[in-house]
Symmetry: C2
Subunit: 363 residues, 2 copies
């Protein structure tokens, strides 16, 4: 494990964002050029939330962030690491995270961190990164995006937060492209929080869709013990869509966007459930999914669909207690109809996105 | 021509809507049953605006109303007409309107008026209708919907305005179904005003998308002297859509809806111009259309596409003077590249929809 050249990492407290007010106590220019950025912290810790992509008719262009569950990245300046490079010193968290490579070129956090360093033109400092996986892999909750987002934000904040969210999404996209395809519907909300619409890729244009702050939005996320690889789930999709289904899904996508902006939870749930193109092809590949959706709706959910490429099912409600009840019914349905063990989480919309949660200033 | 049994039609003034405050001076129950509605006016005159359907990626589910241009219907109680029936006494207006049938079963206004009478269960009163066409036929400006909307609203108001806008859209849809297909993207905004998203048909669900009142939205409508029959324009469309184009258009539809609700004219124009499915197939069938779009954009329009099934081109801007300039460039392009004469109109968004513009109370 790489050792930080100053104090070992110590979380010093939680704050939302924007470290520009924290004046570094010491700055030493490690660069040979005058333009290269210097670190403003010895070490930082960042968090990036889970994300729900697709949201039914929002397939491949809409996603949102889920509060209170995600990945952490700790990052420190490390003189034992080659200048301009990243070393992954440790990966902790859930059982499956042991599968992840510590080679930064093959790790989501590593790829995004390198991309961010390149954007910032960091050539004179080496960094050491620790990834703490809070999200299961391949669950349809944007696990790879959360790692990438946390890493991109950590690198950016360590050097003073010069990149804006669009640039951070571009850095994260380099990671997503290698892992699951060039899709920003997880990485964009993981970085920006809330709902994000991907308007175009060339150039990358993102629209933040503000869900009214005075309204509550609760996700019930039920993840079965089942593997649904993104590649397989994508292969299940048709290459062509009938015109009537196209028009239907387009109109539901419009209704979804309007419901988000107007804070109309009933309308949002209805649109979420209304996909006629992707969900009907993917649901049969996840044992019990159709029954799980039915159980969620019968238990009072406003809407239910597959989260990302699955296998997690996501239902929508306005109340935490009712969310727990709905989650129980969904877990039962996965067991009864799919013979799958499943775990439920009840979470709020994350409106912040990836952020610094702790930092150690330079001394 | 049928003659009204009381005073001949006299417009008595203009007001926006809702005649319920105008107490009728005389009511005589013409019905044998106690439940049948009675007319509350001797005669009414209604207006319904032109509409722009599709709006690029909003194909077949989104439309909006255009102020200051549309059709008028004058309607009066007429004892010379069979009870429960409608007679079309006259059709005036532009040259082509002579083509329209005066048989109410084959006339948009007639069909919608009959449907509205049926909904209101009017069996004991005969009505005489005059249609004043302000819109050219087959122009892509919702000519048939304007006639139907004006007729439905006239009948409804004559009997006290009992039907809500959704029911009026259903009445208008009976007409649209016979003329151009069961599509509500003209009739719904013609009746409701503003932007309307058609969420579903079974049951009919409509979403009003409120464009912020403090912002101005100007349409430049350029109609060439060219016939683009809806059937032919529909036949040009593919029956299947590639998945990548589907996702693209869906995301643009979402962006279109978000831009409307946020009053983001630049975003709205961009989305309007971004259709990859319908416009590319239809534009080549309208001589000069591609050049017209180019001319509009070069002259500063925020966006441009085909209005409805064409041949009218619609461009978007925030200022009337600039709208006139854009219109001139578009007219020139139709002439230069399409060898077509064209006429330009510069109009605002209509936020009211079909309404009573005059009425003669019962005496």
């Amino acid at each position: 494990m790489a050792i930080c050249f100053q104090t070992p990492f110590k979380p010093i407290g939680f704050f939302n964002d924007n470290s520009k007010n924290h004046k570094p106590l010491l700055r030493c220019n490690l660069s040979l050029t005058t333009t290269e950025l210097e670190p403003v912290y010895t070490s930082v810790k960042s968090f990036a939330p889970a994300t729900v992509a697709n949201l039914g008719p929002g397939f491949d262009f809409l996603g949102c962030a889920v509060d209170g569950v995600g990945d952490y990245v700790s990052l420190c300046v490390d003189p034992s690491v080659h200048s301009g490079e990243i070393s992954i010193s440790d990966i902790t968290g859930n059982h499956a995270s042991r599968k992840l490579s510590k080679n930064p070129l093959f790790n989501c956090a590593g790829i995004a961190a390198i991309a961010t360093m390149k954007m910032l033109k960091i050539r004179s400092v080496g960094l050491s990164l620790t990834l703490e996986k809070g999200l299961p892999l391949g669950s349809g909750l944007g696990s790879s995006a959360a790692s990438a987002a946390a890493a991109a934000v950590a690198v950016n904040e360590l050097f003073g937060g010069k990149l804006d969210s669009r640039e951070l999404v571009l850095a994260g996209l380099e990671s997503e492209a290698k892992v699951s395809g060039y899709h920003a519907d997880n990485i964009a909300p993981a970085i920006m929080g809330g709902f994000v619409l991907i308007r175009s890729y060339d150039p990358l244009e993102l629209m933040r869709l503000r869900f009214p702050t005075e309204k509550d939005l609760i996700f019930v996320l039920v993840s079965p013990n089942f593997e649904a690889p993104t590649k397989k789930m994508r292969a299940a999709l048709p290459t062509e869509v009938g015109m009537s289904h196209h028009v239907w899904n387009c109109s539901q996508a419009g209704a979804l966007v309007a419901s988000i902006l107007e804070g109309d939870l009933l309308g949002l749930g209805k649109a979420l459930s209304a996909d006629k193109i992707v969900e009907p092809k993917r649901a049969p590949l996840i044992p019990g999914m159709e029954a799980v959706k039915k159980a969620a709706m019968e238990a009072g959910a406003f809407g239910c669909t597959i989260s990302g490429a699955g296998p997690t099912a996501v239902a929508l409600i306005d109340n935490e207690e009712r969310g727990k009840h709905i989650g129980e019914r969904m877990v039962e349905a996965f067991w009864r109809e799919g013979n799958l063990k499943a775990a439920a989480m009840v979470k709020r919309l994350d409106r912040v996105g990836a952020r610094l949660v702790a930092s150690v200033p330079l001394r």
